[in-house]
């Protein structure tokens, strides 16, 4: 749809509704990660956390293109994918805090969240695992007409899982959408330094998988690519691939201050912050600043309540909640 950049032209109501939902979702993801950062500093979140700040448009945009019966597998930086899929923020916060009301009862923690009721097969603590889990979900999805989505980072594309699963999904014609969130760094190391060819989309194309590179900080661009890919998968079968170019605005994990970034790089990416872009787009659609502020206030209140709920929840009791090694 052509849009006049100097004059606000409201998109169709359904479309505007989608962008408002997407914006609210991204805001929730950002607010959640900021809250977890705070709770980590206070000692309420244990171990380590890998924050999704800066990458919100990717999982939000993709999730807007999915149906409830679709499957998602994500990474240890997976809070965003979980929330974008509809996982309850209070439950997720409680999980990170190790509380019994957590999404996995406090057994999983930040890196391994699973919520099958929301189609989240899991978040995988070792890179590439999400690609394999989604490939397997593709075997199930092929029977039901669903689609399985794998989120993974640029670092995974140098892993055996990535190459084996792209090939496997292609030769077995599986309905899998592979989404590479290229945030330019594998942990502390620049992607281009350790990725031969430095062209991840070309790697997927080499497997004869329809592939597209998109602006991963633009919710609408991500959604358009995902919607087209999912439509192609549902109609023609077989996998599709999206490389979303984005940027992790924080360190790899809580121990990483990000000192390896070249001067000015972070500032340039902050100019392209996905929430900022989404707000500008909404304003161009004629959404008033009051409307946007109302969404901001609603999400802030929701997050405050979620954190309060999580903090009030008890820790799991190994005696009261005994574990079983095996499923019956």
């Amino acid at each position: 749809m052509a849009r006049n950049s100097t004059q606000a032209v409201a998109p169709p109501a359904a479309e505007l509704e989608r962008w408002l939902t997407g914006y609210e979702r991204m805001l929730l993801l950002r607010g959640f990660e900021e809250a977890m950062q705070t709770q980590f500093m206070r000692g309420e979140v244990h171990g380590t956390v890998h924050l999704y700040i800066g990458q919100e448009a990717v999982s939000s945009g993709v999730s807007l293109a999915l149906r409830p019966e679709d499957w998602v597998a994500a990474t240890y930086r997976g809070h965003g994918a979980a929330l974008a899929r509809g996982v309850d923020p209070a439950g997720l916060a409680a999980e990170l805090m190790g509380r019994v009301t957590g999404t996995c009862g406090g057994r999983a923690g930040s890196m391994n969240v699973i919520d099958l009721a929301h189609g989240l097969i899991g978040c995988f603590g070792i890179i590439g695992g999400s690609a394999a889990a989604a490939t397997g979900a593709g075997l199930s999805a092929k029977r039901t007409g669903a689609v399985a989505v794998a989120f993974f980072g640029d670092g995974s594309t140098n892993h055996g899982y990535f190459h084996e699963c792209l090939n496997f999904a292609k030769v077995h014609d599986l309905p899998v959408l592979f989404v590479c969130e290229n945030n330019l760094y594998g942990e502390f190391t620049p992607m281009a330094q350790v990725t031969a060819g430095a062209d991840i989309t070309a790697r997927a194309s080499a497997y004869d998988i329809p592939s597209e590179r998109v602006d991963g900080n633009d919710l609408r661009a991500v959604h358009a690519a995902a919607a087209a890919a999912v439509e192609r998968i549902r109609t023609d079968g077989g996998p599709a691939f999206i490389e979303a170019m984005t940027y992790r605005q924080v360190g790899h994990s809580k121990s990483d201050p990000g000192a390896y970034r070249p001067e000015g790089e972070l500032e340039r990416w902050l100019e392209r912050d996905p929430l900022k872009i989404a707000r500008e787009q909404l304003a161009a659609d004629g959404v008033s600043s009051e409307q946007i502020e109302a969404i901001d206030a609603r999400v802030a209140a929701q997050m405050e309540e979620a954190i309060e709920q999580a903090l009030a929840a008890p820790y799991p009791d190994p005696v009261a909640q005994p574990a079983t090694e095996y499923a019956a």
Partner: protein, 328 residues
Amino acid sequence: MSTLDFRTAIRDALAEELERDERVIFYGEDVAVAGGVFKATPGLFERFGADRVFDTPISELALAGSAFGAAVTGLRPVIEIMFGDFLMLPMDALVNQAAKYWYISNEQASVPLVVRSAVGGGGRFGAIHSQDPTSWFLGVPGIKIVAPSTPGDAKALLKASIRDNNPVLFLEHKRLYSTKGETLEQELLPLGKANVVREGTDVTIVAVMKGVHDALAAADLLAGDGISAEVIDLRTLRPLDLDTVVRSIEKTNRLLAIEEGPVLGGWASNLVGLASAEALEHLDDAFALTGGDTPIPYSPTLEDPFFASAERIAETVRTRIGVAAGAS
């Protein structure tokens, strides 16, 4: 009672479960059109079609990873990892993902997955096609390890493994594929239950797979000396049926466990330790007779003495365990 051979037992178990449950699928390298490199699975592809029985790329990470993903999203996959030695490749999918899922998901879903694999020495396959992978998986909570010794057991245990709701490693000893045996009356055998295959009073010999036949042959030799050996086939190595072993040593007061793998970190020495902890007052002696501490050799003159023969088992009972005729 009719007889069947080991290969047919495997194929029949798969065919019956594929027939019984739509959710069961079977895949691996050369298992479909070619019927498996050990010729254990011919005819299944023709009977059940390419949607349910198919050949895959030589990609163990994708094979096991996808089986995990398929299992947690509603299918009941059986895969073949051609040689047990190749299980080193998909350890992440099996150990980090499949085995832990039931627990860390807070029991949201089980992982009904079977990994069939040909294992064991004596076939002149050399160091990297002859290993028994048991010890690599023995200490992994959440996984089951099944190791049948006869065709009848193999069929009933494989059917039970496919119906089990947990990840099961199903080991098929290469030297047993051509053996014949009686069919069992019961359709299924419970996982985690050992079988006393020969009753005796002087010493308890515990083994799995091919080792059971060696132990029975040793018991025959010992009987000639007036020594009465009880032989226990564990059938399942995890969970371990310690009770049956302890009940036996309460009677015999002596334990010999036989394993192809090395002594340190193996199941046999582990069993000796557990039995000692449980029933030290009943034990006069306990010993693990195992493979050597080098890689498994190739040449017949090197490989043959590497594993415990019936003669060496009998000799160990006479000398190391110190059982004299009529000792009890």
